[in-house]
């Protein structure tokens, strides 16, 4: 057991011996350290005003990620290199190339969102060279600006790229920073608290299994992109908190031949990369998963175990026929992902159990796959409807296997069994789709809420099957207005 949390704040080694387990990084920066450059815009990880850059060791390299400080818990920073907007100016007052580009392009007006944009741009600049406009938009999808209309910020992102990287302090300082972080790393379980409530961060899966068994009522925290809101919006006082982010073994993704194996803590950026090998449709869906900060923090296990009816991964993975591995102590059990979701916010997870691994079959040759996410705003929005479809056709072109999974249509991510039945044994054509659409009304009685009406949801759920048919039978027809698939179609 280690009873302190240690990380680098810029060059400064910070060691914390006592803290509220759900103290947010943002509050700590602003209130405890009076570093007020980082702003609070929404306190729910949606506006990006609080964006900071966190470097974490990944083997021998240091991976810098933009994250939302407003929903990240302070003790989860253990072992990280933390950069805030105040770190960017050189000691002689010279602006960092990212900052200078924003000034040169008139990228700030009221300036309140600006530090967050600067930090998102810094992460982009540290990680990628000559990013495309599409990539810049993706990297900034989690940063809201209400003044500029974004045009000058995109221009700044393009301009900053011309700066000399090798001379940059952060780049030049990498070896030293890595060495310092390595010296901090250990495999001790962290235990810290404020005297009343507790935070644990095991470093191994075995230690996690033991902790979860000992504290079956604990809140398991992965990326905290939802749990963070339980604190900042729900005003809940979680106790204890068990953080999974130090367990490298849970982050792994491996190719097992006919399927991919995902550690529960694989983040959405890594998950996207892996799923993209299965289908470009998945690449596009994952591109639109939250904002960049959420994709950096959020994990495959969290998106599943959270049990939200509108999470986008579950429909995709159910359609692919994914299997979940749950672990309790040293025991493991497997179940089809779709069986995990029992009822609204209720999952088949026993006390003391945690999601360890997700197994995702690759598409067999000839299988048809489709996923569409429909939301009010194209990027960084929550699905009104998400439809993911898998079809296998026999040699005569008849449907012999169908998995049609939807999010946003029920209290849980759910298969459309009646619609599937309507397809089975039929040719994959207009008539079959019409029959499946008619059957959807038996499968779902969706809600009307702020994202969409019940009628729209049902209508679109059916039209997505039409889109699937068009894309698989007349691929020359354009069916997408934006995103990677539209750009690919445009050429």
């Amino acid at each position: 057991m280690r009873e302190t949390v240690r990380f680098l704040l810029g060059d400064e080694l910070v060691e914390i011996a006592s803290c509220d387990p759900t103290r947010t990084v943002l509050d700590w920066l602003r209130l405890d350290r009076r570093r007020t450059g980082t702003k609070e815009g929404c306190a729910e990880g949606d506006c990006g005003a609080c964006t900071i850059v966190v470097g974490r060791l990944d083997g021998d390299r240091l991976r810098y990620e933009a994250i939302n400080a407003c929903i990240r818990f302070l003790p989860t920073l253990d072992g990280c290199h933390v950069l805030t907007v105040e770190h960017l100016k050189a000691p002689d007052g010279t602006l960092h190339p990212v900052q200078q580009a924003m000034v040169d392009c008139h990228g700030s007006q009221c300036g309140f969102c600006t530090p967050g944009f600067i930090m998102s741009l810094l992460a982009l600049w540290l990680n990628e060279r000559a990013p495309s406009v599409q990539r810049i938009e993706d990297a900034l999808a989690g940063n809201l600006c209400r003044c500029t209309g974004y045009e000058p910020i995109i221009a700044a992102a393009q301009r900053m790229d011309s700066a000399e990287r090798e001379k940059d302090r952060f780049v030049a300082g990498l070896p030293a920073t890595i060495a310092r972080l390595k010296a901090l790393a250990d495999s001790e379980t962290i235990s810290i608290g404020d005297g009343e409530r507790h935070f644990y961060a095991p470093a191994t899966t075995a230690a996690l299994a033991e902790l979860v068994s000992t504290h079956p009522q604990a809140t398991l925290v992965a990326g905290a992109t939802d749990v963070g809101l339980w604190v900042t919006k729900g005003m809940r006082r979680l106790d204890p908190v068990i953080y999974l982010g130090r367990i490298d073994a849970l982050r792994g993704i491996s190719d097992e031949g006919d399927h991919l194996r995902f550690g529960a803590m694989a983040n959405q950026i890594a998950v996207r990369e892996a799923l993209a090998t299965i289908s470009p449709q998945l690449d596009e869906m994952m591109r639109r998963f939250g904002g960049e900060q959420v994709r950096n923090a959020g994990t495959i296990g969290g998106n599943i175990a959270n049990g939200s009816p509108i999470g986008d991964l579950p429909p995709a993975l159910i359609a692919l026929g994914a299997t979940l591995v749950l672990r309790k102590g040293s025991e493991r059990r497997q179940l089809p992902l779709e069986a995990f979701f029992l009822d609204y916010r209720k999952q088949d997870r026993q006390p003391g159990e945690f999601v360890e691994t997700v197994l995702v079959p690759k598409l067999p040759a000839g299988a048809l796959f489709h996923i569409s996410k429909i939301s009010k705003r194209f990027d960084e929005d929550i699905s009104a409807v998400c439809g993911a479809f898998y079809l296998a056709l026999d040699q005569a072109g008849r449907v012999n296997e169908a998995r049609l999974a939807y999010g946003g249509m029920a209290g849980i991510p759910k298969r459309a069994k009646a619609a599937e039945a309507a397809l089975l044994g039929r040719s994959w054509d207009e008539a079959a789709v019409a029959a499946a659409i008619a059957a959807l009304a038996q499968d779902f009685t969706p809600l009307t809420d702020m994202r969409a009406s019940a009628a729209y949801r049902l209508k679109v759920a059916g039209n997505l099957l039409r889109r699937f048919l068009i894309e698989t039978t007349t691929p020359e027809t354009s069916t997408r207005v934006a995103g990677l698939l539209a750009e690919a179609a445009h050429g």
Partner: protein, 772 residues
């Protein structure tokens, strides 16, 4: 040292380097005074009814709590109604009029403690059904929050009766949350006597001062309001800051400690007013050539629970129900309805956008009814020609340039060729349909509350030649401080580095108007220039005497002062003048000329001038899902002679995207209990980077000085560009119309969410099928 003209240069925002470094201080960033306590507001959990009891004992007993505040703790008046209708209590005492209405405040050692404690209140209510929208308010015969306005010119009834063709319709136009990135915030610091200093994120320091004085029961002279910058305003901090400033000040008075109040984003959105949503019922008379003969329209607005600025907002909707179009006979009436929702308020455009959206719907209706191209119908109805240059409020349109702007833009963006290409594309694309539209903007500049059209400034020249600049305008990101500083720098011939821009404070420049109505630079630029001219006149008189020259031999040039044949530095002149006991400080003042308005008669000259622009938008829609993408936008906008073209371009781009958000993805949803369901960015969707048009050509109209004598012949630019986004709504509509072969008006309401677009597609498709 400046060597070239500063006014008109594309200089960076004065705080740009501080913004990017995180060094620009917003109120929550300022070093906190010792003994600071934190207030939080407790809210009603019903939308309508009577408050029967309010038990705060658990709140008071919560950890860290110092005190609670209810209406009985208010030493002055429990009212913050900006238009003095006494309909906006700080804390409700009996009538609950919207969900989230403030009932009390709790003050604790930390903000977190105060937030937790505020949730512990136990209130009981006698709940009544809420009236939540225009239809419900009308059906229930709900009262109006303020006197309606009627504009009338000509005999509408007979003009309609004599029109070759007529049609009737209804359009719903949604509201909009400001979503300033910095939420509301105030920090109140009590002083000696009954003094109170409030640092407040507000566009209207003088009003906040009066409100704080009123609730504290002290004179205005005891209250000082200060604001260096806001993290966005957009109208949302014109009256909506009053509540937070007053609660902070009341708490500070009660505790004799500094108190800060910053609502969480969700609470901010639940408590504060938004852009008004409107329902426009219209009847139009027209002919087969697409010329409008008469318009009769009613503009009903969801005003919310109190009057706030709903009177002037609904007035301005009527002032813009013509946009650029001449209606030979016209009648327009407002219907500002009371509803049990947040009290809607100022928002960039201030009702003008809603009026203008209605005007473009009229055009569209006439176009589809006659089978003419919408742009052709727009052009045929523009103001201009004999007897065709008079607005519905009887102000002549003397500076009309919309026709030229439309022609220039349609030429430069290749409108006709692209339109033809889009139609060809649509014929062969069964799912994705493209649309294009070009819409103009004419926006009236001046407060329609005539007395607001005044401004003051205070300029100090120090003996080292540096200048402290202060005026009544506030900085919310629009670059006002920078523009006024450019005016001052040029007036003295000094560099911007010699000017210190100081925070807006009621202690330096009193009785100021809200920084609103796009008027910030027009008013404050002129007031600051007036102060500079006063000082320059004194310096000139001194120089004439000191160096024995005539006044015409003295000139303030870039970087130097010409005194006869010699050139001296500004510092040298200032030092010499000081030694000769010349006053180096002056106030400045400006009142906009020519304007007058008789609201009862519906006649007058409420606007000093008009700002113009036009935009062409191209979109693609998906007819299976209603999803869409704005693919290209071209804008030509009239800034007169811009004070700073870079800042103006930023206003145009930003205003456009904000307007596009309003008309597309930004949807406010209340449930049947009157609870706002879209109270955070997770549910309320403003545009993100990828929503901006990838091709975004923005040009400022060149060599177009304002014909009126405004500050350096510039034109106001804060609000007008927002309405350029109406082109997006109409491009979407054009794409929708393609599914009915352009024979049926899509009547696409706003916001055009994917759901509304899909509904319109299905409606047009059904009409087309029925017609076959």
């Amino acid at each position: 040292m400046a060597t070239r003209p500063i006014v008109g240069s594309p200089l960076k925002h004065d705080s740009a380097e501080k913004h990017v470094a995180g060094e620009a201080l917003y109120i929550d960033d300022i070093a906190e005074p010792a003994g600071l306590a934190h207030a939080y507001i407790g809210l009603s959990t019903i939308a309508h009814g009577k408050l029967l009891s309010l038990n705060l004992s658990a709140v008071e007993a919560a950890p860290g709590v110092l005190s609670v505040l209810t209406a009985i703790d208010i030493p002055g008046e429990n009212d913050i109604s900006s238009t003095h209708k006494h309909d906006e209590p700080v804390f409700a005492t009996s009538d609950i009029l919207h969900h989230g209405q403030p009932l009390f405040a709790v003050i604790a050692e930390t903000r977190e403690q105060a937030r937790h404690a505020a949730l512990l209140a136990r209130a009981t209510y006698d709940e009544a059904p809420p009236l939540l929208d225009v239809a419900a308010a009308r059906a229930a015969g709900s009262e109006l929050v303020t006197e309606p306005l009627k504009l009338e010119r000509g005999d509408v009834a007979s003009a309609l009766a004599n029109s070759p063709r007529r049609l009737k319709g209804t359009m719903a136009i949604g509201g909009q949350d400001h979503f300033y990135l910095e939420s509301q915030i105030s920090l109140a610091i009590p002083g000696e006597d009954q003094d109170m200093l409030v640092l407040c994120s507000t566009q209207h320091p003088s009003e906040v001062q009066h409100m704080v004085a009123n609730v504290l029961g002290v004179g205005s002279h005891a209250v000082t309001i200060e604001v260096r910058r806001m993290g966005g305003g957009f109208g949302g901090k014109e009256t909506q800051a009053n509540l937070f400033a007053c609660v902070a000040a009341l708490a500070a008075r009660k505790l004799k400690r500094p108190v800060k109040l910053r609502p969480d984003r969700d609470d901010d959105m639940v408590i504060t007013g938004k852009r008004h949503d409107f329902v426009v019922d219209y009847e139009i008379g027209f002919d087969d050539e697409g010329r409008i003969h008469a318009v009769d329209a009613v503009y009903a607005a969801r005003c919310g629970w109190n009057a706030d600025l709903s009177g002037p907002v609904t007035d301005r909707a009527l002032f813009h129900m013509d946009n650029c179009y001449f209606y030979p006979a016209v009648r327009a009436r407002s219907e500002p309805l009371r509803t049990h929702t947040v009290s809607n308020t100022a928002f960039r455009g201030f009702g003008g956008p809603q009026g203008m959206v209605g005007a473009e719907r009229f055009i569209e209706e006439v176009a589809y009814a006659t089978g003419l191209d919408p742009l052709e119908v727009r052009k045929r109805n523009l103001y201009g020609g004999e007897g065709r240059a008079i607005t519905p409020y009887h102000q002549p349109v003397e500076d009309m340039i919309a026709a030229e702007v439309i022609d220039d833009l349609s030429h430069s963006c290749d409108y006709r060729a692209r339109q033809a290409a889009i139609r060809a594309f649509n014929r062969q694309s069964p799912v994705i349909k493209r649309g294009i539209a070009l819409t103009p903007v004419k926006f009236g500049i001046s407060f329609t509350a005539t007395w607001y059209n005044q401004a003051g400034a205070l300029v100090h020249v120090y003996t080292d030649g540096t200048v402290a600049l202060n005026h009544g305008g506030t900085e919310m990101g629009q670059g006002l401080y920078q523009k006024v500083a450019q005016v001052v720098a040029q007036a003295f011939g000094i560099g911007l580095e010699q000017i210190k821009i100081t925070a807006t404070t009621t202690g330096k420049v009193p009785n100021t108007s809200a920084t609103a109505a796009s008027s910030g630079s027009d008013l404050n630029g002129m007031a600051a220039l007036d102060a500079c001219e006063t000082i320059k006149a004194r310096l000139t008189a001194f120089a004439c005497k000191h160096w024995q020259e005539k006044p015409e031999a003295i000139a303030f040039l870039p970087g130097r002062v010409q005194v006869g044949t010699r050139e001296i530095g500004f510092v040298e002149l200032v030092k010499a003048a000081y030694m000769a006991r010349v006053q180096l400080s002056a106030t400045g003042f400006y009142a906009t000329p020519k304007i007058h308005w008789d609201r009862k008669a519906g006649r007058g000259h409420p606007f000093y001038y008009f700002a113009y622009g036009a935009a062409a938008a191209e979109v693609a829609i998906d007819t299976l899902t209603g999803e869409y993408k704005v693919e290209r936008v071209d804008i030509l906008h009239d800034c007169g002679n811009p004070l700073n073209p870079a800042i103006d371009k930023g206003q145009i781009e930003g205003g456009f995207v904000q307007g596009m958000g309003w008309l597309t993805t930004e949807e406010l949803v209340w449930d049947e209990k009157g609870r706002l369901k879209t109270h955070a960015p997770s549910t309320y969707k403003i545009p993100v980077a990828s929503d901006r048009p990838r091709i975004f050509n923005v040009a400022l109209l060149e060599k177009a000085p304002n014909r009126e004598h405004t500050i350096h012949r510039s034109k106001a630019v804060g609000e007008p560009p927002l309405m350029l986004a109406i082109s997006v709504l109409h491009a979407l509509s054009d794409a929708v119309a393609s599914v009915g072969d352009y024979r049926f008006c899509p009547q696409l309401d706003a916001p055009a969410t994917p759901e509304r677009v899909l509904d319109a597609v299905e409606r047009v498709r059904a009409l087309a099928e029925a017609a076959q």
